[in-house]
Symmetry: C2
Subunit: 464 residues, 2 copies
């Protein structure tokens, strides 16, 4: 039992909703409110995050640890009472770091804190050494002339990331994660390093996946911690600086990963999907990214199970595998379930940390927006506003969304998310149990309403 | 030129002091105020810290980098116009880490973030593996029975450090840094790990020196980052946990270190000493510990030089070597200057980070406390209060203080000091130039007053 529900008034939860859509019955709305109350008293989500991050710890996509996490997940979901618990395996290429080191060789010898970016090739034996050429932004590098001015050099993209609540700066910031190496290689550079994609100023580099352009030269690439990027820039103020980068990696053509699926069977074969991703980067224990999401959807499912009422639609919980390396589990899921995508009435993934939800963004048919509004009215006592109809549903909803499945984004406060994101400091101690409980309440109510509302979330097909 | 002097009113500095002691002339007090004004406009301290931490970076006691720092220091001090700039070398034993790794072996395999403690012996080839026995406090371990209950085990002391402004919790906290290994070894344990001596909750272990007791068994010892100590405790809640620790180190019987000395010659051979320490731990670049102190006393000396008035007493700036490994430079200084200790009228070291000074603590003869009060009245516009007569003068004043030299502690706000202390995150970006300028103002005024006040800071010798 949770003793304190900061900022959330249970009295407010008991207030009857006003102006329901016809699709949301008073009974369903009242049940959703009960789920919210129960969620705020449940420790299942918090305990799930603790159990996963303690017993498994880091769980890189395709690794033996990710396989242990799937075994853990099956046991955990069964023990909580979910039905149809199973793993849907898929194959994937494997990449992991083995060792990584960087240092200023001259004029001021000293180590630099770096981490290799996912998919980076290794450096040659003994590392690669080159003079640093600094670009203040990724755009500056992309605009550099296609001549030999970078031949044999190491490119350094020193672009800062802007702090935003909704993560809207990530798209800009992450462009350098692949772009630095690709644009550097086109111009003859031997390696590329970037200031970490992150908003903190501590000495913890942020990893993350990158992709080489097809047919291009592959040069090794890594992220500097923020203080090290600042240090390198300070050193460059004195004159030319030479850096040595030494990265070794392990790759395999094909390993097994998998999605873990569990269900609360409904009265029909229509599906509401809620999920998170089971894999994490290797540097931390994946608490915020995405142990939180795993915990939240599991805790939400558990309070629904405990309601002991069969929903109209089946509620499916998916722990996606191999999200970090390119949504591989999401694409495998969409492929495995290609014939039943029309049965997926709505989906939502929790994968933006462990902060409170502050808004609901739908992506429904324009004719169905009254349903988003009705959901938000029930969620409003949790501090959740109605936003636009441009929700993404979360990264692992991408293949479903692009196939036309309606989605909901329950947007979390991401103000601090990129402080820890993809670093060694993504650990369980960063999780606030009250914030998690608010998320669980929102997901439980959302899933229950989605499973019991009448009608579709899609526009009716146009008449031929 | 510094554009902004937060919290400090120059108008206040110009207010005439009240109730001077006879020892502090109005002229000297007015000159001290001018120095404070000039210090608040000077960038020398901040630039000194930047230059040292950028050009040298980490500078472990006795290392080649510390030697480069001495060369830098001589050039730097000469270029600023100090006189009698020289190195006073001394020999010392050398220790450095080579590699360090720890992991939970069972039941939940995963890496742990650790750093070896200074002077730790290496583990045997392949590391040492043992079951963890956790003690909540150092006292609990010290009180454990002297039987075989720890034989073959790895001791884990999970004690938190209390946050204080004045660093008064450090003495308690640091007891485990040597105590864990010594008490563990007495009871047959094969290694000892501690929760870092630090107040942050990030994944950056804190190093620091430890000492084996004479004639005792030496077991390897390391500090866990705070999140890793928490993780280990969480894992232990499930049952027995086995950890592997792998540390390799490099030691040498004798290497050269040295103190760097510079002077502002006075009219007499009496000495006022202000200092900081030049060495740092290897993990960061030693900005807060103790680049700040080096910068502060250098900046203070520079504004005194720029006053172009010869002080009565000589003001001596000392950059102590090898502080971190046991005040080796301080003891070497006291030994080299043993015959002139009576000429040392007062000393002060800046070695508690980069925060603002909030109080002056003297250690003067009881008959001389009016001089401390007079100094404080001049410093008061900087926000500096008069405290007690129990000042230590800073770590490197220990040998002088114990030999009877009067000292002053200009106490810095250390609220955040142990967040970064002895970690990889002790880097230049953590330095606030306005806070440094306030320190420079206080040290310049203090040193000038001490050099020009009439009479001694000691009690008159008792008549035989």
């Amino acid at each position: 039992m949770r003793p304190l529900f900061a900022l959330i008034s249970l009295a407010a939860l008991a207030t009857p909703a006003m102006a329901q859509t016809d699709a949301l019955s008073d009974e369903t709305a009242m049940q959703a409110r009960t789920l919210m109350e129960n969620a705020l008293e449940s420790d299942v989500a918090y305990d799930t995050i603790r159990d996963l991050t303690t017993r498994i710890g880091p769980r890189l996509a395709g690794s033996e640890a990710e396989a242990r996490a799937r075994d853990w997940a099956v046991d955990h979901l069964k023990s909580l009472g979910f039905k149809n618990v199973r793993v849907e395996p898929f194959d994937m290429p494997f990449w992991s770091r083995v060792s990584e080191h960087a240092e200023i060789v001259s004029p001021f010898p000293q180590p630099l804190a770096i981490t290799a970016l996912g998919n980076s090739v290794a450096t040659p034996e003994g590392g690669v050494t080159g003079e640093i050429v600094r670009f203040e932004t990724m755009n500056d590098l992309a605009a550099a002339p296609m001549d030999d001015s970078l031949k044999g050099k190491i490119v350094f993209v020193d672009e800062d990331m802007v702090r935003t609540q909704d993560g809207s700066s990530y798209g800009v910031a992450v462009a350098k994660r692949s772009g630095a190496a690709n644009e550097a290689a086109k111009r003859g550079a031997v390696a590329a390093i970037i200031k970490s994609v992150g908003t903190d100023t501590f000495r913890r580099p942020h990893t993350g996946t990158m992709r080489y352009i097809d047919g291009g030269t592959k040069v090794p690439t890594a992220a500097l911690a923020w203080p090290d990027a600042e240090q390198l820039t300070r050193a460059l103020a004195y004159g030319p600086v030479t850096v040595r980068l030494d990265i070794s990696v392990l790759t395999k053509d094909s390993v097994e990963s998998g999605n873990v699926i569990a269900e609360i069977p409904g009265k029909t074969d229509e599906l509401v999907v809620i999920g998170g991703h089971l894999d994490s980067w290797d540097l931390g224990t994946g608490a915020v990214d995405d142990g939180a999401g795993i915990g939240i959807v599991t805790g939400a499912g558990k309070v629904i199970l405990d309601l002991k009422k069969k929903p109209e639609r089946t509620i499916r919980i998916v722990y996606f595998g191999a999200e970090e390396v390119g949504l591989l589990g999401a694409f495998a899921y969409a492929k495995a379930h290609a014939t039943e995508l029309d049965k997926h009435v709505v989906g939502a993934e929790s994968d933006f940390g462990a902060g409170r939800i502050y808004q609901l963004r739908s992506r429904f048919g324009e004719s169905q927006l009254d349903k988003a509004a009705a959901m938000q009215r029930v969620l409003e006592p949790l501090g959740i506003a109605l936003a636009d109809n441009e929700g993404t549903g979360g990264p692992d909803m991408t293949p479903l969304r692009t196939a036309g499945v309606p989605v909901v984004s329950l947007s979390q406060n991401g103000w601090d998310y990129f402080d820890l994101h993809h670093t060694s400091d993504d650990t369980f101690d960063k999780i606030d149990p009250d914030d998690i409980a608010q998320n669980v309440a929102a997901y439980a109510a959302f899933a229950w309403m989605a499973a019991n509302m009448e009608g579709s979330f899609r526009d009716a097909p146009a008449a031929d």
